[in-house]
Amino acid sequence: MSSLTEDYRRREQSITLSSEPAGTGETHELMTLNIGPHHPSTHGVLRLLVTLEGEVVRDIKPIIGYVHTGIEKTAEDKSYWKVIPVVERMDYLSYYFNAMAFCGAVETLLDIEVPPRAQYLRVIHLELNRIASHLVWLGTSALDLGAISMFWYCFREREKVLDLFEMSSGQRMHTRYFQVGGVMEDIPPGFALQLRKFLRMMPTRADQYADLFSKNQIVLERLRGTGIVDQETMLKLGVTGPLLRASGNPWDLRKAQPYSSYDHFDFKIPIGTYGDNYDRYRVRHAEFYESTRIIEQALDGLPEGPFITPDRKVALPPRHELATSMEALIHHFKLVTEGFRVPPGEAYYPIESPRGELGCFVRADGSAKPARVHMRDPSFVNLQALAPMVRDGYIADLIATLAMLDPILGGIDR
């Protein structure tokens, strides 16, 4: 056993030296610094083994697995309906997206149609979740850079978004609102009014963030020109999302492979030019405005109709039918005790989450429980881009780059 751990140590500590010398051309002794799983930055339990030459980062090895929860294994043990809360807790800032990917995969396998009202409601909640996720990212990144005021402002807005979620589903986070075939229930009467108030307020608040942050001298000096990676490397590493868009590639699944009626809405995709940290910040900041536009269009055009598929073999019948209809009672019973069965097959359903392409692979074997659920998490693949971003930069730039990378350890470790 000790030789196994020695082998691991040796492989962890092996570094790939870059060809450029540091500073004045003198070589210094290399130091390995362990930015441990517990560290002051608020990005979760990510452990980094950093090899430093002076203050310049020569190599970095991320070590993950400190929040590994066995979500995919647990999901094989539960019926499809019960997998939704389990899978939601994976990427814990974009919980609606996790549920959307899974529900989309199962709906593909079942070949059922989601009613248009449910699709629009899904879009509204997805974009609200995108705004909420970017608010946490902005608040905690600013906290890492030392700008604590941004933290308070961003979380003030996030409270409003969580109030909206609480209105529609009763929970602030991990709401289990998306179901296979639609959404759990329709939005309550005051929701539209509250949402419009929020939509009027959000662009002004995003302007406030821009005033505070975008032209700040410290922010410019720390974020401009640091962590530059070109588009080719990003594509080879499989990076998607705002990181890829900041390096110039306008790939966005909402436009390229639209799902859940995203093609009905008119919005722009912000892209960057240099691929440095400042571009990543600007891309995500611009997405605030775009998400607000999408929600406005969705709310204006919200169609009437059912909020979940009328297929009673998949979705619960409404409560008032249980008193009168025998089939409704039987369907309810079968769905609650066993769950619906999915015909055998495999499906991969990719969506655009705030961090990139979130895909859900579901393999069904004909029973009421999935045989394999795999979530292709964007942060897991984006983390591989950390090494080219920070190589030959200062360790202070490492902190800024890690903030702009927006890793969510729940998704990385699953």
Partner: protein, 219 residues
């Protein structure tokens, strides 16, 4: 009450049952005397110290998963933790006295959490926030450890994730517990007393608290 069973490591279970009987009020003799003595506040100075301790927790910045986001909301402006006096979150465990375990503790992370708890200085308290670290939560599987298995927890806050109000309620409950000045003796069950510093060469220094050059233990 004598029941013979296989000897468990360090008589943990017997002491746990004794503690349960104590809580139910089934004590007698010298157990009862010790219980009363430890609980009655003897001096006003004790009470004053307990009041100061309870109103000035220095929590440790320790967020693991989704509950950490709700923990951040407790500190944020709507549900403000600073009005209770607990906004001084410290990054170093040596300077903190309250660890709020927010999130799921995986088996890879458990030794790290225990090491951080050991590095905190007495008196220290632990709050287990959320269902995942209190019990197994939503995920009852191979990858998680409930925090009660390896470290003493004072308050468990249920919820998935608990609302910021619920976490504040839990911290206030902890404050009332601290104001009663409970004896730390129950932590002996977890070997959690006197762990702050382990010098090399001492017995038990094969412990994880001692670092050698090039040591990347816990990976």
């Amino acid at each position: 009450m004598e029941v013979t069973r296989e000897p468990l490591p360090s008589d943990f279970r017997i002491r746990q049952l004794q503690a349960r009987d104590m809580l139910r009020g089934d004590l007698e003799g010298e157990d009862l005397d010790r219980y009363v003595e430890e609980r009655v506040m003897t001096t006003t100075l004790d009470r004053a110290v307990a009041w100061a301790r309870g109103n000035s927790f220095f929590p440790l910045t320790f967020g693991l998963a989704c509950c950490a986001i709700e923990q951040i909301h407790v500190v944020a402006s709507r549900m403000d933790l600073a009005r209770f006096g607990w906004e001084a979150f410290r990054a170093s465990p040596r300077q903190a006295d309250l660890i709020i375990l927010s999130g799921r503790v995986s088996i890879k992370m458990a030794p790290v959490v225990r090491r951080i708890y050991d590095q905190m200085l007495d008196p220290k308290w632990a709050i287990s926030m959320g269902a995942c670290c209190s019990s197994m939560g939503v995920f009852n599987n191979y990858a998680l450890v409930p925090a009660d298995k390896f470290m003493p927890i004072d308050v468990h806050v249920p919820g998935c994730p608990p609302r910021p109000e619920a976490l504040a309620h839990g911290i206030i409950k902890l404050r009332s517990k601290v104001l009663l000045n409970p004896p730390p003796g129950w932590r002996e069950r977890y070997d959690a007393v006197g762990t702050e510093e382990v010098l090399p060469g001492e017995p038990d220094s094969a412990d994880i608290n001692v670092f050698e050059h090039g040591d990347t233990a816990g990976a």
